[in-house]
Amino acid sequence: MKHTLVVLVEDKPGVLNRVASLFRRRSFNIDSLTVGRTDLPEISRMTIVLDADESNVERLTAYLYKLVNVIQVTDLTSTPAVFRDLAMIKVKATAENRTHIMQVVDVFRARIVDVTNSSFVIEITGDEDKIEGFIDVLRPWGIIEMVRTGIVAMARGTAAVPYLNGLVSSSNANSNGNGNGYHKEPEVEQVVSKYY
């Protein structure tokens, strides 16, 4: 099934490459991957959608945590969350269908952001189903080109993903999670035994 992971990473050169390379090396297929800044400096947020079963997602999560620049991985699949994709679609417009297209744009609560004598550029946001539906409606008129951002996601309610909520060090220390904190040097001691 489709899983949506929110991955917080350090905003450093090469981090996207590390994540993408991990997917390739471990043979996972990415449906979509988006990266952008967060409100915290030095932290970027990735939203990754992939098709995999539960145990593979667990495995992938553990691999992601092995990347030193990965701060936190949260699976939003079973959490109530808002999922949004943005598409810009350039569609052919003629004198005859122009009004009709504008009506459809209204129905889908999309926006026309550029107009010429023979085309529109339409911007639409929404979940994947809505955008797919919109594209299906536009297709007969002739799509000239299209671009989509890929899914971004955020849990509903007040809570943020744990790291941003300051919950990391206590709640995640015992799970597969990473976290931030100081690390103690490993203790060194002499053990006397029959054999050693």
């Binding site: 590390r18 390379s21 090396r25 597969n176 053990v191």
Partner: protein
């Protein structure tokens, strides 16, 4: 203090306790090599960067400290790659420092420029590209910290030449390292510990599978205590050999593809597997679908990504093996599994165990004899470093591994050419130890140029070449699975005695069993590195063998009657 980036490299290494580095200079790391002369660190000039990487790797495995290797940009760095991948697969704490072209030329295909961080991304625990002198010091500190904490592994630091040359007011910052995304100090949940303890108490046929994690976390005393208190027999992985003394009655021996037959049978019959610091590699499990199907599984493992990867476990205790074992030991009670242990001993009795010493000497020289005699005449105390192939498995089977970190071998990656350079690295880590490199004629030739390094450094390693004129392990597979069509496995080698002598070293040749003792004794008494060319039986195979992908208990056994035996079970 005004220091150049190159000086900062050495200042940091000195403070990290580095005493020896292995490497090869070149255009892009000239500033680092220039600064080296002013610092109290011994540099070993190898004959190939791969040799430097294996030396650093073995140095780390033997000493427990971080091993360091250096190379220049481009071909220097790419030559390290095999060694880095070897260290990665076997979790060896290593730091690799490569020179890189000046930062303003990065990306312009400059002379000897290669995307080293890109190439090594999947084979390092982490890597860095340093373009600015300001980054040099703390990046190296982080590199050492990452290399040695958690599940250890190789870290590569690629330093642009201008970052080595520029100077800066710099003081060493010894404050604790803080990294947002790296937390190696995980510990298991108390509720999971309790579940594990309950499973241990209720088990009737438990078996411990101990791997390299036990050695890495120094959990040998805890392993011993746990095994004795719960009367649980211990099977070892190839890289776990030495984690439990061979002489201990609860030590069953090695498991897996070339493990002892009774060990594999015991695993298949067990009702509880206690996996300590091992990762259920395919060479250990055989066919996963039929692997220990009746056993519940407890996994003590520091790397969460290894849990449930190959084998689904019932309880995962994520954390340092030693700490987890200590917690378990505080709750676990004395158990008795006499019936189960007797049963394993019964299987063992069936396994065609004979005393190789009792075999009549019919003039043939067998690798098993060579290795068993090596063990005997070195008082069992030798630090054994192997290459990869048949001799490696024989060294695992016929040398009795009594002490921890005394058996150094490339397990996960199976890197031919590892033996000789690793032996040199091991000797630098333990100058007091008697180091024996056991290599095949094929693998030895891959890195034999490092004999020159041993000669220049004037160090003593003893090299036993198990010379059968074939790439033996591949030949064995061709014999078993490809109808004896020996494609590209017969190998003609140079005169290894003369090769040794050409390096100013001692070379010996052994063709009969009766000559082994004298040769080994002479090698031990001779100053400097000695190479012994053991001309062994050409078409001997390693038994038992679980064919790749077969069930663990479906082993190919040595044909009977056979001139040699499966196991060296002699009482001495």
């Amino acid at each position: 203090m005004k220091l150049t980036g190159a000086q900062i490299v050495w200042e940091t290494l000195v403070r990290e306790g580095v005493k020896v580095v292995f490497g090869y200079p070149g255009g892009a790391n000239l500033p680092i090599y220039d600064a080296l002369l002013d610092y109290p660190i011994h540099h070993v000039l190898t004959r190939h960067e791969q040799g430097a990487a294996h030396m650093a790797d073995a140095y780390a495995r033997v000493s427990g400290e971080v091993g360091v290797a250096m190379a220049t940009s481009g071909p220097g760095a790419t030559n390290l790659v095999t060694g880095i991948a070897t260290a990665m697969m076997d979790s060896s704490p290593t730091v690799f420092i490569t020179g890189q072209v000046v930062s303003k030329l990065l990306g312009y295909d400059a002379f000897q420029e290669t995307d080293v961080t890109g190439i090594t991304l999947p084979i390092t625990k982490h890597n860095y590209l340093v373009r600015d002198v300001k980054e040099v010091g703390h990046t190296l500190r982080e590199a050492f910290y990452i290399a040695k904490t958690g599940r250890p592994g190789p870290v590569l630091v690629d330093i642009a030449k201008d970052a080595q040359q520029h100077a800066l007011d710099w003081e060493y910052d010894g404050s604790p390292i803080k990294m947002k995304g790296y937390r190696p100090d995980l510990s298991p949940l108390p509720s999971d510990i309790q579940k594990a303890v309950d499973m241990i108490h209720s088990a009737k046929r438990p078996i411990i599978l101990a791997g390299r994690g036990v050695l890495l976390s120094h959990a040998m005393p805890e392993l011993l205590q746990f095994a004795e208190r719960t009367q649980t027999p211990v099977a070892l992985t190839l890289l776990g050999l030495g984690a439990m003394p061979h002489s201990h009655p609860l030590n069953l021996g090695m498991m897996g593809m070339h493990g002892e037959a009774w060990v594999n049978h015991a695993i298949q019959e067990a009702d509880l597997l206690l996996a300590f610091g091992m990762r259920f590699d395919d060479r250990v499990t055989g066919n996963l679908a039929s692997y220990a199907v009746n056993a519940r599984k407890i996994h003590l493992e520091i790397d969460p990504a290894e849990v449930n990867k190959n084998v689904k476990v019932d309880v995962a205790l994520i954390g340092d093996v030693r700490q987890s074992l200590r917690t378990i030991l505080s709750a676990v009670q004395t158990c008795d599994h006499e019936e189960w242990i007797d049963h394993i001993m019964d299987i063992k009795g069936d396994s065609a165990v004979r005393d190789i010493q009792n075999l009549p000497d019919e003039g043939h020289l067998y690798a098993a004899h060579v290795i068993n005699d090596l063990w005997r005449y070195s008082d069992g105390k030798a630090l054994v470093v192997t290459d990869v192939g048949q001799h490696q498995m024989w060294a695992a089977q016929y040398f009795k591994h009594e002490y921890p970190n005394h058996f150094i071998t490339s397990g996960g990656l199976g890197t031919m050419g590892f033996g000789l350079p690793a032996g040199i690295g091991a000797k630098f880590a333990r100058p007091d130890a008697e180091v024996w490199v056991i290599a095949g004629d094929g693998g030895f030739q891959m890195t034999q140029a490092e004999l020159s390094t041993a000669a220049q450094e004037n160090i003593k390693v003893n090299v036993a070449i198990i010379n059968n004129g074939y790439l033996g392990m591949v030949r064995q597979w061709q014999e078993f699975f490809y109808e004896r069509r020996y494609s590209a496995t017969p190998m003609r080698s140079p005169d290894f005695v003369k090769i040794a002598e050409a390096h100013g070293l001692t070379g010996l040749r052994v063709t009969k069993r009766s000559e082994i003792k004298d040769a080994v004794t002479k090698a031990r008494q001779t100053e400097g590195t000695v190479v012994i060319d053991f001309r062994v039986e050409q078409e001997d195979s390693v038994y038992p063998m679980v064919p790749s992908g077969a069930d663990l208990h479906q082993m190919i056994r040595r044909p009977v009657p056979s001139p040699i035996v499966e196991t060296a079970e002699d009482e001495i």
